[in-house]
């Protein structure tokens, strides 16, 4: 042992542990992210699954798709060095449907794909947390669609 310092092996171990601690300490700096996809406010039914109405039997959507709609709700948080970037896109699904549908009485929207993902990345001095919900849908004509109950 030379001088009053630590042995070389212990010094290396300590510096390695310190480096790891610095890296781990950066993780909370990433923060936590969550996101929600919804169609609240859409003027038409936005259907998941094969049942189109109360009392209807399960069936594939009738008629051809008039239009397709995609939307993605995303929350992302990136930290690189001392810089942080937050990105948060609110769901626009209902607004997109409302803009597309001219006659809500005779249109249904059928969700063809609803997927959610979460991923975390850590690369030396860069970290990222990302969560998203993606929805793909089509607008279909409803043959007997109406807004008013028949007498």
């Amino acid at each position: 042992m030379r001088g009053a310092g630590w042995p070389v092996g212990e010094r290396r171990l300590a510096s390695g542990a310190l480096a790891l601690a610095v890296v781990l300490a950066a993780v909370p700096g990433l923060g936590c992210e969550a996101t929600t996809q919804t169609a609240q406010g859409a003027p038409v039914p936005v259907l998941i699954g094969p049942v189109a109405c109360i009392g209807c039997a399960p069936a594939a959507p009738a008629g051809s798709a008039l239009a397709s709609i995609q939307d993605r709700a995303l929350a992302r948080n990136m930290v690189g060095g001392s810089n942080g970037v937050w990105e948060k896109s609110r769901p626009n699904f209902a607004r997109k449907i409302a803009a597309l549908v001219r006659d809500p009485c005779r249109i249904d929207v059928h969700v063809s794909r609803l997927s959610a993902g979460a991923v975390g990345v850590f690369a030396l001095f860069f970290g990222m947390v990302s969560v998203d919900v993606q929805v793909d849908a089509t607008a279909n004509l409803v043959a007997n669609g109406t807004c008013k109950a028949s007498p």
Partner: protein, 160 residues
């Protein structure tokens, strides 16, 4: 004389590799076996084709489902990556004596963020990442049609 790490590029690369990683998972939500209508908006139709909004229906309960799916290989593979909500919808709607689920929303929560970003460990290909999903909605049923007004008995001429 011992070798310094800088003298061994392979070792440096390996150590650097331990600090580069990612983890996560993906899930596809389906309802192929549902026997009740499920709407992400507040609107659903009855079997005559009439639009019914939340005000013209009775909320009988809330729908709630939580699920977490685990992914490996840097989020590239998610075993059981399909979440079929049909059984939960059928059971909860039936138990509440409802007729449909409306205002269904899907949330990816933050409870997996730490696991997905954990340095060193998420460099391992089989380190499990995850995606926590919460689905919420309202279970509704149609309001019964208003009862007809009670027939007023004809006034008797014998009444005083």
């Amino acid at each position: 004389m011992s070798k310094r790490p800088s003298d061994s590029p392979g070792l440096v690369l390996m150590l650097s590799g331990l600090l580069v990683g990612c983890a996560g998972a993906n899930v596809e939500v389906t309802a192929r076996g549902a026997v009740y209508p499920i709407s992400m908006s507040g609107i659903v139709r009855d079997n005559s084709g009439t639009l019914l909004d939340v005000h013209s229906m009775k909320i009988v309960s809330g729908f709630h489902l939580e699920a977490t799916r685990v992914g490996i290989l840097y989020s590239g593979v998610t075993p059981h990556g399909t979440l079929d909500i049909s059984d939960a919808v059928n059971a909860q709607v039936s138990a509440a004596q409802g007729e449909a689920v409306i205002r269904l929303s899907i949330t990816v929560e933050d409870s997996c963020d730490l696991v997905n970003t954990l340095p060193v460990l998420n460099a391992i290909p089989f380190w499990p990442g995850c995606v926590p999903v919460v689905l919420d909605g309202l279970i509704v049923k149609r309001r019964p049609p208003p009862a007809p007004p009670p027939a007023t008995p004809p006034s008797s001429p014998a009444d005083p």
